[in-house]
Symmetry: C2
Subunit: 302 residues, 2 copies
């Protein structure tokens, strides 16, 4: 194996994790949690989403959260933005990085954002342009890269096509998502090899879900191909397997455990990560599904 | 990656899985379950353990189980045997393969079998000799290969030393266990590289636990080094994270999902595997912890 010396872990729990949680987490608790995350050594936190609260009531307090957290200089505070209206709100609260999103699957894109893939480019073009003009960095997410709940297999060409368009619109980093957690390491190698033939590895991040237990194996093969950026959600938040609509986010604490044990530098303190996980677990009132948290509870009870 | 074309999955659920379950599973249910496992395409099933029932009451029905299951010709039915007395029982019921076990950690070995490592060789020598004389194949397990709950790190030399001794006593296959689920892929590569310098890869099996989510990543690096035999427990049985003494066995269904998706032949039918998992889950009366089973429940409920 040819492993990198260091990796950037991009914490998406406050957005991708919380957005699937039905129970509203109090705004103050979100703020406290993000402040705790800022003390763990993480250098990137996606704190919220400026979508219409009608679609994600959990993140209706995006402005308040973004305004109220204590920002540390060396941390990038990012937010998801679906359109120009969302961007205006994000810029008003001076978010550091804007993340736009779409799907490699035509059907999933329609179901998720009610637009065709080509219509989505038209919506995202001014968002990306204006964000860049405002001096913000812009990240793009592509979902269903490794499989779609409606279409099944997704061709690598479809992924490359959307990637091309997003980069040509100006995004600086691309996060490839295994939205339904079906990717296997061989497939990751195949897709990533073609992606890295076309784009520099520094611009590619991987966003795995652990729905079928393969996330860290997929991380491993990605590391071996030179990828150094991974998205994850603390405690596997948003991925509780017993909840409806389980998404199975890769847990930051599990990802960090493996990276740390392999001597890969992340700058993150695992103990502080666990403290932050315990905090949000208590607010949620239900166990977080990460292996680290399950093992912690098990060891405490035995 | 350089992946093998086919892999042998060694099902250890009826022994390694059940032995951690406090609630006694009725003998008939064990028999029915093993018969279901025999129909899944598995070629190897460790069905019980001939240990003193005082230590593992769950497996007190070893003789009855071994006598009553329907054996298929192309399946190896194995059992754990700690000593000559256990071997006699195993031979009386004509078990196909005998598995002996010890630890790479002096302290763990003492706590687990109440003997020093060198005393254990003396106990195992006649067991292995007599099993071989009776025409049985013999497998050896080494536990705590990647870390010990009492001693912490275990040196590769300690692992090689126990491996040497067991092979010189006559075992034909060696299963290296990550008993407490702490192994990381880099460590697996380091240990396995040295092990494979000394022993042929056909004689080595890996036995990972998923306690910290790394089992399939550890499988992946092992596959890449040419290992084609893996132990696992259906549904992650014996590894329920909410139970005391959670062991976190790698789930056969999760292992098989990844292998199958990568096009690696196992001969196993995933659907039949799931049916067998549902059967034992109902007998246990609590959810099995594998990702496959969690995802199945989640999809059914949503």
């Amino acid at each position: 194996m040819n492993l990198p010396n260091s990796v950037t872990v991009k914490e998406v729990g406050p957005r991708d994790g919380l957005q699937n949680e039905k129970q509203f987490i109090q705004t103050e608790d979100k703020i406290d949690w993000i402040n705790m995350l800022s003390e763990t050594g993480l250098s990137y936190i996606e704190i919220t989403s400026f979508v219409n609260p009608k679609w994600i009531p959990q993140l209706a307090d995006a402005v308040q959260v973004a305004k109220s957290i204590k920002r540390k200089k060396d941390i990038t505070y990012a937010a998801l933005v679906p359109n120009e209206r969302g961007l205006q709100a994000a810029l008003e609260v001076n978010i550091d990085e804007v993340a736009v999103f779409m799907s490699a699957s035509e059907t999933h894109n329609r179901k998720n954002i009610n637009k065709s893939i080509s219509e989505t480019y038209i919506v995202l073009k001014p968002v990306i342009e204006q964000a860049l003009s405002a001096g913000k960095s812009v990240r793009g997410y592509i979902s269903t890269v490794f499989g779609c709940p409606y279409e099944g297999e997704i061709s690598i060409d479809a992924v490359l096509s959307v990637s091309d368009q997003l980069f040509s619109l100006g995004i600086q980093e691309l996060s490839l998502g295994d939205t339904i957690g079906v990717a296997n390491p061989k497939q990751v190698e195949e897709v990533l090899t073609k992606v890295l033939d076309r784009f520099p590895r520094e611009k590619i991040a991987m966003h795995f879900h652990n729905t079928r237990g393969t996330a860290l194996a997929n991380v491993l093969v990605s590391l071996n191909l030179g990828i150094t950026k991974f998205d994850s959600s603390l405690g596997g938040l948003g991925g509780c397997p017993y909840a409806k609509g389980a998404s199975g986010n890769l847990a930051t604490d599990d990802l960090h455990y493996m990276l740390d044990q392999m001597g890969i530098h992340t700058g993150i303190d695992q103990e502080k990560l666990i403290q932050a996980a315990i905090f949000i677990e208590e607010k949620l009132g239900k166990p977080l599904p990460s292996h680290t948290m399950q093992t912690k509870r098990s060891l405490c009870n035995s």
